[in-house]
């Protein structure tokens, strides 16, 4: 069964993008700036079957994060179709739903509801989340009293314990101290071994080679290679050494 399917997907952005004031629109109309568009993704097609774990590799600005945003349903493609079956949990920017004035507990419940869980599920999962995070008594304190590492640990615990059907990971494999990092990696492998689908954007690392069996190589928005991870990484690294 195909859980993720992209067909001829294009995604363009305005080069000027982002926040706009009325002044910027007037400048556009009066022709002072050229609202140039660029392709973040260009004619990308691929599909991922149930239980596959796929890595997305490529240089900065190759369109990796845009690809994940499309799959997570955060942004529609400019043209083409994106189909996703099942609930995707994204470990994108960890803790984006967190608020510093709320306690750890309140943040867990809020995040669970943001990720689409019902009250019953959220309360059932609460204990396993707290246990995994190893935050103990800090869970009753406001988030602003946490260290950066503690906050990331909490965010990671929420995302992985919410039992996603598709786990989307964006360069967040390394969280907290070495001991906790090992625990995170172990948890991700556990999720994979349960037959869940994983889509992972990360720097090339030994962990990535072990975790994924397939890789997609993006370059300037185009899918240049799709195949077994060993071969794709070899070709990718070959290109890098030639450039150097």
């Amino acid at each position: 069964m195909k859980v993720i399917e992209l067909q001829n997907v294009n995604k363009t952005f305005h080069r000027s993008g982002g926040q706009k004031l009325l002044r910027h629109y007037l400048e556009d109309i009066l022709g002072r700036t050229d609202p140039e568009r660029f392709f973040a993704l260009k004619d990308v097609s691929f599909s991922v079957r149930d239980g596959e774990s796929v890595a997305v590799i490529g240089a900065n600005g190759a369109g990796k994060s845009t690809l994940l945003s499309l799959v997570t349903g955060l942004v529609p493609p400019s043209t083409g179709t994106v189909k996703v079956a099942g609930r995707a949990a994204a470990l994108l920017d960890l803790g984006s739903g967190f608020h510093p004035d709320l306690t750890g507990r309140e943040n867990i419940i809020l995040n669970a509801s943001l990720l689409g869980f019902s009250r019953r599920q959220a309360h059932d999962l609460y204990d396993s989340i707290v246990e995994f995070s190893e935050l103990d008594d800090f869970i009753k304190e406001p988030l602003r009293t946490y260290s950066n590492g503690m906050m990331l640990r909490l965010a990671f615990s929420v995302a992985v314990n919410l039992d996603p059907e598709i786990l989307i990971i964006d360069e967040v494999l390394a969280v907290g101290d070495q001991k906790f990092q090992a625990k995170c990696t172990e948890k991700i492998f556990e999720i994979r071994n349960q037959g869940k689908t994983i889509l992972c954007v990360s720097h090339v690392s030994p962990t990535l080679r072990e975790l994924c069996d397939r890789a997609l190589w993006l370059d300037h928005g185009q899918l240049v290679m799709d195949g077994p991870i060993r071969e794709v990484i070899e070709a990718y690294e070959g290109r890098l050494t030639r450039q150097a």
């Binding site: 706009k20 009325l22 994108l92 509801s113 019902s118």
Partner: protein
């Protein structure tokens, strides 16, 4: 796509806003009461001592019937308008239904509103206008008002993502509105031709209905209720439509 529990999420977002607002105030709920009381006292002083206006009895209650809806409207509208742009982190990272962000902001203001309505009702009783059966209309008129605020906020919050100046337009509109709705003057002081138009403004209609119910002890007229229902539903539908059309490109502008 997001297939979660809407009510659970909405409740959590409302509780979050409420907790954040009150956790940082030492006197908590007291501040919700202070602002309308101060304004009530100031306006009562101006319009009974500086410009004596003998036509209006019970001026403090009369003006509070205007201030409570006006405060709710401006606070909810202004906070709601900036809510989508201010929650960019959330909107760009989590595929929650976008409508829920401005609606939760408006509804969290309702907690604050509940406290002010309690103050208003308490003062009505203290000033000798008792409880009457027409109070049963209160949830209806307030409900329509909340629907209206949700609608207009959906519209301006979506526009604010595209053009950040919208929030300043809303701010000025609120200042203007203080004069354009009958907060401190009676509707019968307004020339008849304008007065009919006033009822199409849901905020003005609510203020008029509150005075009819709480001060005169009568039920609001059916024309007024019809106009209020008509404008509120229309604005809400329009708000949903506009928001739906604009939300697809939010990501690119945040």
């Amino acid at each position: 796509m997001w297939k979660g529990d809407y009510l659970f999420l909405l409740q959590n977002l409302i509780v979050k806003d409420f907790k954040i607002r009150y956790r940082n105030m030492s006197l908590g709920v007291f501040w919700s009461l202070l602002n309308p009381l101060v304004m009530m006292t100031a306006l009562t002083f101006v319009f009974t001592a500086v410009f004596p206006n003998n036509q209006i009895e019970n001026f403090p209650i009369f003006v509070l019937c205007g201030l409570v809806p006006f405060n709710f409207f401006t606070v909810a509208w202004q906070n709601g308008t900036i809510s989508v742009a201010n929650n960019a982190g959330l909107i760009k990272r989590v595929p929650v239904p976008r409508e829920i962000v401005p609606i939760a902001t408006v509804l969290s203001t309702c907690v604050h509103l509940g406290i002010q309505i309690a103050l208003l009702l308490a003062l009505v009783v203290v000033f000798g206008r008792g409880v009457n059966w027409n109070w049963l209309w209160l949830p209806v008129v307030w409900g329509l008002e909340i629907l209206f605020v949700c609608g207009i906020t959906l519209m301006t919050s979506a526009l604010d993502v595209y053009i950040r100046d919208v929030r300043y337009v809303v701010e000025s509109a609120c200042t203007l509105l203080f004069w354009m709705v009958p907060v401190f003057y009676a509707i019968h002081s307004v020339p008849q031709s304008y007065a009919n138009l006033y009822q199409f403004n849901p905020l003005a209609a609510l203020i008029l209905a509150l005075r009819t119910i709480l001060i005169d002890g009568e039920s609001p007229t059916s024309t007024l209720l019809l106009k209020l229902t008509f404008s509120s539903t229309l604005i809400f539908a329009l708000g949903l439509f506009v928001f739906h059309r604009l939300k697809r490109q939010f990501f690119d502008y945040l």
